[in-house]
């Protein structure tokens, strides 16, 4: 299947988010082999040069490792993956905070609300 890209971010960045998301969710595990650049490009319907860039960035980020002649694998460095999870958490909180601020809610008001929901056992 092809995927829909949002208009506000570079496509390579959205693909990095997608792959790291799959790792965080556990759909792709440490040590798993990723499809080849071309296979992945065909699967999601993007340019092979874009996909090449995605793989290069993931490797620079320490999320993947390329083994000569064997392909690209998700790192088994659990410290790095834990760090990735933290970065993602921070990113989510950051965007949430700027959202609520732009609407004029205070952090305290929101924290109180989250706690109330948690105590009330709402979903």
């Amino acid at each position: 299947m092809s995927i829909d890209f949002s208009a506000d971010k570079p496509i390579y960045q959205q693909l990095i988010d997608r792959i790291t998301g799959e790792i965080i969710k556990g759909h792709v595990k440490p040590g798993d082999k990723l499809p080849s650049v071309r296979e992945y490009a065909v699967e999601v319907g993007v340019n092979a040069n874009t996909m090449q860039r995605v793989y290069r960035e993931l490797e620079t980020m320490g999320i993947t490792e390329t083994k000569r002649g064997q392909g690209t694998f998700v790192t088994e460095d659990h410290v790095r993956l834990e760090q990735l999870r933290d970065e993602m958490k921070e990113g989510l909180v950051q965007s949430f905070l700027s959202n609520i601020e732009s609407l004029g809610f205070t952090k305290k008001e929101i924290i109180d609300h989250i706690q109330k929901r948690g105590l009330g056992g709402e979903q």
Partner: protein
């Protein structure tokens, strides 16, 4: 590399192309966009050697473009061409007889990838499958340049998606694809660069990821903005 310098094409006093300068690098997927009548097909045909420009210079890998350039360029026109009584296989054999770079096995692999039955007559295929067959014949050629005029037009989303995947699967980093399209939103993830033609002139030529990174918008918004600015300047 394809290089155009001050290419002009006049039809009865009207300029279909007006001093077009354009360089297309190797190994890129490049989209040609613009409103109807902006000169897209004329530009493609000039590069393919099918139209002689009224002025300017056109070169492919340093060789001046003539009708013979067809040996380097695989051009896929926008029309539903071909001999309707041909089977897909006969179409491939015909291509094989016409083009030295045609690889019959590759054409069959592309056809298989796109789920086209080789033994069906073209006239008995659906429009979508005829489009797939045309694509398989074009990409059966091992050309350095593929010029595709409106490869998605008139097809349903399934066929468009297949054609996109085929282009990614069956080109390698040394080959260049230059395609005209109105389906900008769908083509964007496929492309490295976009060329915007308006009134026979190139008004912009940019890398797509740079549009997103620098202008913070996608190709459709970018194109709309440039055309609007052009109109307000023209007034």
């Amino acid at each position: 590399m394809i290089r155009l310098e001050r290419i002009t094409k006049t039809y009865g006093g009207k300029k279909a192309l007006n001093s077009v300068d354009l360089t297309l690098d190797k190994g890129k997927m490049i989209g040609l966009v613009g409103e109807n009548g902006s000169g897209k097909t004329t530009l493609m045909k000039v590069i393919a050697g099918l139209i002689t420009p009224s002025g300017g210079k056109a070169e492919v890998d340093g060789i001046p473009v003539t009708r013979k350039i067809a040996s380097k360029i695989a051009f896929m026109p926008d029309i539903d061409l071909f001999y309707p009584y041909f089977t897909v296989d006969e179409l491939f054999r015909f291509y094989e007889s016409q083009y030295e770079d045609f690889n019959y096995d590759k054409a069959n692999i592309v056809a298989q990838f796109l789920n086209v039955d080789r033994n069906s007559q073209l006239k008995k295929l659906s429009k979508g499958n005829r489009g797939r067959a045309k694509m398989a014949a074009t990409f059966g050629r091992e050309a350095d340049y593929y010029l595709l005029d409106e490869p998605f037009s008139g097809f349903d989303p399934m066929v468009r998606s297949d054609i996109i995947k085929g282009m990614i699967q069956f080109t390698d980093p040394s080959q260049t694809v230059f395609l005209s399209t109105h389906e900008i939103r769908e083509a964007e993830p496929l492309l490295d660069e976009i060329v915007l033609l308006s009134g026979g002139q190139i008004v912009a030529h940019k890398e797509l990821e740079a549009i997103r990174e620098q202008d913070g918008m996608d190709a459709v918004a970018w194109m709309t903005k440039i055309i609007k600015e052009g109109e307000s300047v023209g007034k």
